[in-house]
């Protein structure tokens, strides 16, 4: 009798743990929106910077990017839960984004100022890390 109670308790507890895990995953979908917005913002910012290689273009691009970063930071801070591994995946996203960002900007600013053939694919490339991470986060959140 004792063993039957144990079995029922154990199965019920494990089922409850699974439900709670799914609930946390669902509520952590805000990170997908954050990563999509980050990707879109960085695309626009880099494109503005590359296609308008003057003081006004630089100012507009930096102002746009700073506003996006502030809004995204406030949005992230207001969320009540961060799924397991979010800090790690965010660090990977920021690290890879930084590498691509400078790989596009350094040659772009020095040799391809105003050249759409460089800056359009370059802007897409810079947006890839956050967009790829958004896809992976969405896939993870959709797991049962």
């Amino acid at each position: 009798m004792h063993r039957e109670d144990d079995t029922m308790d154990a199965a019920t507890a494990l089922e409850r743990a699974g439900e709670l895990k799914a609930t946390v995953r669902r509520r952590s979908r805000w990170m997908v929106r954050y990563q999509l917005a980050y990707g879109a913002s960085t695309f626009v910012s880099v494109l503005l910077l590359g296609l308008f290689p003057n003081a006004a273009g630089f100012t507009i691009s930096i102002a746009f990017w700073l506003a996006a970063v502030v809004l995204l930071s406030v949005y992230a801070q207001r969320q009540p839960v961060a799924h397991r591994g979010l800090g790690h995946s965010h660090a990977i996203m920021i690290g890879s984004w930084t590498l691509v960002y400078f790989a596009v900007l350094f040659p772009g600013v020095n040799w391809f100022r105003g050249d759409l053939a460089w800056w359009l694919p370059g802007s897409f490339a810079v947006a890839v890390p956050p967009l790829l991470m958004a896809y992976l986060t969405a896939r993870r959140a959709a797991r049962p």
Binding site: R3, V24, P80, V81, A82
Partner: protein, 104 residues
């Protein structure tokens, strides 16, 4: 002494504390109000049970502000995560082994 129930953690085994641990195990961190609503308990019950888990070294409670609003965050410590995984392993062993013994 070989029954897997001996592997259960007395601190975690209580239903509310188990639910708190399960919620936090799926998260890097969670806000107090979110855990309260997810586990479906009152503020006072969550405070009491999270204090017990904190005393056991399983949960870390940190306080901060979002704008002018004070916030309390809960997260599992490394010890807490290990203890919860071991507790779940014991639960799985109980769920899997006991029917086989009954059948014999």
């Amino acid at each position: 002494m070989t029954h897997p129930r001996h592997g259960l953690d007395e601190v975690i085994h209580a239903p509310v504390r188990f639910s708190i641990m399960a919620t936090l195990a799926a998260a890097d961190k969670a806000e107090f109000g979110y855990v309260r609503d997810t586990v479906e308990v009152s503020d006072s019950v969550l405070s009491k049970q999270s204090a017990t888990l904190e005393k056991a070294g399983y949960v870390k409670v940190s306080k901060g502000y979002v704008g002018k609003r004070p916030r309390t965050w809960l997260s599992l410590t490394a010890d807490g995560r290990r203890a919860f995984e071991a507790h779940c392993a014991a639960l799985r062993a109980i769920a899997e082994i006991t029917p086989a013994r009954d059948a014999s």
